[in-house]
Symmetry: none
Subunit: 207 residues, 2 copies
DNA sequence: GAACACACGTGAGCC
DNA sequence: TGGCTCACGTGTGTT
């Protein structure tokens, strides 16, 4: 190994006591402190902190940024979709909140700490190959986004859908889906499984 | 200074040639590489890159996270504000007893007169070029269809709109329209005239 | 050539 | 004890 040469060189450099060596030392110190402070400030911004490591700090920041970007894209996509739909035929589509059909038995599922807690799920059929889905769930953070995901994952033709909520109350979603009357039971089952799988996937560990 | 002592110590430690020194060296190398890769991955996530410095990478990431958080809070605030404004009465719109509404009713109307009596018309502006129209009127036959026609005749970009009603109560419509703040007076006037003209056309009260 | 940024090997401290 | 994280001073390369 060349360790011997290395050490000889360092000793020599130290022996001649170059005048700018101290400048270099303090400059390097400032640089290190600067990076350290930046990493500290970065850690303060990230809510999820696993470890205090420098590498872990950057790792958590990466995951946090990815999460924020994903949410941002979802919201922007939603807005774009809404705008394109509203200007699709320059005509107004008005979501009517009227259910004028027989009530199916309400179904309750998934009331653990997991995100989407369904209070009531009603799937009923209308004439004209239209099925109405009434979904009432507890309003939590990101519940709206998850509902959008669930509806999207159903791969059905959604005529119109909306999500209403009061300042302090549940979240009520009504969707008009183009489907035959015979499919309502299957559709209800698919919605239930979609919500359950989303809950299981999102919160694998919840104390 | 104690530099002399320091160097003496380092020289001695190097002279004894500890056996686990190589392990330590390669371990430290891996650790540095790990942090370096993390910083590289972090830089790949941040769109705004000023410099390639390690400190600058973290600095840009901090600013980017702050920007994302600010946008996120703004959007969440808008949603909350929107919800609070749309449900300012905060009364229970859950126990709505929805009367039957015939979706298959022909859209051609005007065969008999049932004027739209407006109880309240509120046009208020929100941020982001959004105007909220709150319309409360007496529930009569065909009133919902007429409201649809009225909104359609406005030729404005409707983000979303809905019409609520209780079994015994007025008919409440809330529409989010994309418009500038300066247009709210004009918009309100146009709504009023549209309703008035529709009433005059449907029920020509030949006085 | 001075300023800067980085990687290196190493000692100290902490589980 | 051994594994780890960090700060340190230093050599080297780039601007």
């Amino acid at each position: 190994m060349e360790n011997n040469n290395y050490w000889e060189k360092t000793i020599l450099l130290h022996e001649d006591s170059s005048p700018d060596a101290s400048k270099n030392i303090v400059s390097e110190r400032n640089r290190r402190k600067k990076l350290k402070d930046k990493l500290f400030a970065l850690r303060a911004l990230v809510p999820k902190i696993t470890k205090m490591d420098r590498a872990s700090i950057v790792k958590d920041a990466i995951e946090y940024i990815e999460e924020l970007q994903k949410q941002d894209r979802r919201i922007r996509g939603e807005i774009l979709e809404l705008e394109s739909k509203s200007s699709n035929k320059n005509s107004t589509h008005i979501d009517l909140q009227h259910e004028s059909f027989d009530f199916a038995k309400p179904t309750t599922l998934g009331y653990h700490s997991s995100p989407v807690d369904v209070l009531e799920l009603r799937v009923s059929s209308m004439r004209n190959k239209t099925v109405v889905v009434n979904l009432t769930c507890i309003k939590r953070r990101d519940t709206i986004l998850k509902l959008c995901d669930i509806f999207q994952s159903l791969n059905v033709k959604i005529i119109t859908a909306n999500i209403l909520t009061a300042s302090s109350g549940p979240l009520i979603s009504t969707a008009f889906i183009q489907a035959d009357e015979e499919e309502i039971d299957l559709l209800k089952l698919r919605i239930e499984t979609a919500i359950a799988s989303l809950n299981n996937r999102d919160s694998p560990m919840s104390s």
